[in-house]
Symmetry: C2
Subunit: 333 residues, 2 copies
DNA sequence: GACGCCGATGTGAGCGCTAACAATGTGAGC
DNA sequence: GCTCACATTGTTAGCGCTCACATCGGCGTC
C-alpha cells in the first residue's frame, strides 16, 4: 500500500538509488541520458520522495513553523497567507502552531512542538509585550525570525513601519487643515499600538501642535464604537486617527448615531486597509501595510539563517502606504 | 549539535531504547518505577522525540494537511484557525497548502505536496464547482474530508447548512412583513452561494410569494456596492438578503448614498456574522455559521478514517444561527 | 517441584533517504 | 600504450524511531 520508494525507481531506471537521489536533488554530475531515464521512471511510477525520510537523515525538514495567536484577525491572517505563499515558492511548507496566549510558556511550547518536527526555521508573530521575553529564552540553534515583535530585543525582526504609517496618517489630517488630531489606539501591550501612538505624537509635536489625550481601544469595532460615543460629544474634535480600520468602523457608527457627519464635521483615518474599508460610510482613508513584503522579508531573513547556519540579528522595516479616500476633509469653519 | 535521541535517554535511565519508546507511547506494560525513571531522564535531557523518524517508520506523521484557496477571507480564515485549534487538542499539527486556483491541477498538486510529507489526513476546503471533480480523482488511500464541498459527490463532507441559514434569513424578513425578499448572491460557482440561493428560493416559495430575479455578486463589498446602486433605485425593493456580510456592507453604503434609510425603508440581512457586523450602519442582522463545530466535525470524521483505515463517506451538516440586530424592520406602508 | 503463563524488558531489523567514500569508465597527455 | 585526472555511478552506513519477536523472571497450578 505504501507508494513506490527510491529503490523502486532505481530498479526501473536500471541505476542505483543513489543516482535517483542525485537526480532528485539536482546534483551536477549525472549524465543527461541517465537523468532522463530516471525522470521517466519517476513519472511512470508516480514516485514522490518521502520527506520524512529526508528530514530524518538531514536533521531538517523543508517546513517552516509559524507561531501566531489569533489568525482570525485581518492582519495576522493576511500575513500568514502571504508567508505560506512565499514559502511555497521557495519550496517550503508551512505549519501553523497557534497559541492561546502570547506568554512565555505558550510560546515555548509552540516552538518546542515545531522543533519536534525538525522544522527548518520558525517565524513568530509576536506583536505583544508578553511575547518578548519568551523569545530570548528560546533554543539558539534554530533559525528564528520575529514579525511585529519587540523592536528593543536582540532578535531578528521584520515589521511594518508603524511609526511612519501613523505619522503619514496624522500629517495627512493636519495638512487638511485640522488644528490637531485625536487618536484611538490599540491595546497598550501591542507593539503595533505603541508604534502608531509614537508616530501620531511625533507628527503632532513636529507640527508644533497640542497633543490631545489618548483614547485607548482594543482593535475591535466594539471598542471603537465606545470611544466614538465619547468623541462624538466633544465639539472640539474634528480629526480622528484610529489604530486600525475596525476601530474606525466603530467610530464611524458612533459619529453617525450622534449626527456628526464624516467628513464634513469630523475626518477619520484608519490603519490596515481591510478590503471593505472602501465601502465604509464614507469610504475610509487608511494606511495599507504591505503584508507580502513583510512575508518576503521574513522568509529571506530566515532562509539566510538556514543557509549560513548563523543566527542573524538583522531587522527590516516595511513602509506602509497612505490610501486616500473620502473620510478626510477640511475641518468646518 | 543534534538534540538527544532515544538511546541517550535509554542509557541515562538504564533501560533499552524500546522501553523509552513504550513510555512515550503510553504502552501499558511498563512498570511504574521504570516509567518514572524514564520520564526523569527525558526531563533531564530535555529530550523531544523526533517526529520525522516516527513518521518514517509508521508511514504517517501526526500532521494534517489543509488545502485552501484564499485564507484571507473571513470564512476560510476562521475555519482554518478553528481547525488548527481542534487538531492541536488531538495532538496533531496542521500544515497549510494554499492554492492559487481551485481547479483540478492545483488541488492535485497541493494534495501531492501533503502526501510527500506523509500527512495523516487531508482537509480540503473546496467551496467551488471546479474543485469537485478533482476530489474524485485523488489517491483513495489517504483519509480525506471536504469542507464546504460539493454535496453531490461521494466524498466525506462537512458543511454549514447554507440552505437552512438562508431560509431563516428570508423567513425572518417575510415575518417582518415584507411582501418579498431580494437576494444578492455570491459567485455562481460556489456551493455556498448555491445553497444560500436555494434556501432563499425555498423560503419564498413555501410562503407562496413571488421570487424576484437574482442579483449576482461575488462576496466583495465592491460588488455589493454595485448591486446596491441598482437596488436602491427600485422603489419596490424593501428587503434584501445578501449572501455575506461584506456584500451587505456594500449594499448598505449604496443605499445610504441614495438616501434610502435602513431599516426604515429597506431591511437588510447578511451572512457570516463577521465581528464588525454589529458596527455596520445600522448594525447588521445576519446568520452566524459555527466554524468551531465545522472544524470539530471535520476532524472527527478524519480521525475516524485514520483510525479505522477505511475511507468513509459520511456527511455532516452544521446549523447556523440567525443573529437579529437593527437592520431589519417592517416595510414602509 | 516441574510446567506453563504472563507481564516486563531487550534485541534486531528495517522504514526511505542522504553523506561519504569506493569503484568504475573516459579521454587527455606523454 | 600507459598514466592520471575527472566525470559518473555504485556501495555502505547510518539518521531515530517502531514493530515483531526473543528473553527473562515470578507466579499459580497440579
Amino acid at each position: 500500500m505504501r507508494g513506490p520508494a527510491m529503490t523502486d525507481v532505481a530498479r526501473l531506471a536500471g541505476v542505483s538509488h543513489q543516482t535517483v537521489s542525485r537526480v532528485l536533488n539536482g546534483h551536477p554530475n549525472v549524465r543527461e541520458q541517465t537523468r532522463l531515464r530516471v525522470q521517466a521512471a519517476i513519472a511512470e511510477l508516480g514516485y514522490r520522495p518521502n520527506r520524512a525520510a529526508r528530514a530524518l537523515v538531514t536533521g531538517r525538514s523543508q517546513v517552516i513553523g509559524v507561531v501566531a495567536q489569533n489568525t482570525t484577525l485581518y492582519g495576522p491572517a493576511s500575513l500568514l497567507a502571504a508567508l505560506e505563499q512565499t514559502a511555497a515558492e521557495e519550496g517550503f511548507a508551512v505549519t501553523v502552531g497557534s497559541v492561546r496566549d502570547l506568554d512565555r510558556v505558550s510560546i515555548s511550547e509552540a516552538v518546542e512542538r515545531h522543533l519536534a518536527h525538525r522544522v527548518a526555521g520558525i517565524v513568530v508573530i509576536a506583536p505583544v509585550e508578553s511575547a518578548g521575553e519568551a523569545l530570548e529564552h528560546l533554543p539558539k540553534d534554530v533559525p528564528l525570525v520575529t514579525v511585529d515583535g519587540d523592536p528593543r530585543r536582540p532578535v531578528p525582526l521584520v515589521t511594518v513601519d508603524q511609526v511612519a504609517g501613523a505619522r503619514d496618517a496624522t500629517q495627512h489630517l493636519l495638512e487638511a487643515g485640522h488644528r490637531t488630531v485625536w487618536h484611538v489606539s490599540g491595546p497598550a501591550d501591542w507593539f503595533d499600538s505603541a508604534g502608531r501612538i509614537e508616530g501620531w505624537r511625533e507628527a503632532l509635536r513636529s507640527a508644533g501642535v497640542e497633543v490631545p489625550p489618548l483614547v485607548p481601544g482594543d482593535w475591535s469595532a466594539a471598542s471603537g464604537y465606545r470611544c466614538g460615543q465619547m468623541l462624538a460629544r466633544m465639539p472640539e474634535v474634528t480629526a480622528i486617527f484610529t489604530a486600525n480600520d475596525h476601530l474606525a468602523l466603530g467610530v464611524l457608527r458612533a459619529l453617525h448615531e450622534y449626527g456628526r457627519r464624516v467628513p464634513d464635521e469630523i475626518s477619520v483615518v484608519g490603519f490596515d486597509d481591510v478590503p471593505e474599508a472602501a465601502y465604509f460610510i464614507p469610504p475610509l482613508t487608511t494606511v495599507r501595510p504591505d503584508f507580502a513584503a513583510v512575508a518576503q522579508a521574513s522568509l529571506d531573513l530566515l532562509l539566510a539563517q538556514i543557509e549560513s547556519g548563523a543566527v542573524g540579528e538583522s531587522r527590516q522595516t516595511v513602509a506602509p502606504t497612505l490610501i486616500s479616500r473620502q473620510s478626510v476633509a477640511a475641518p468646518p469653519r
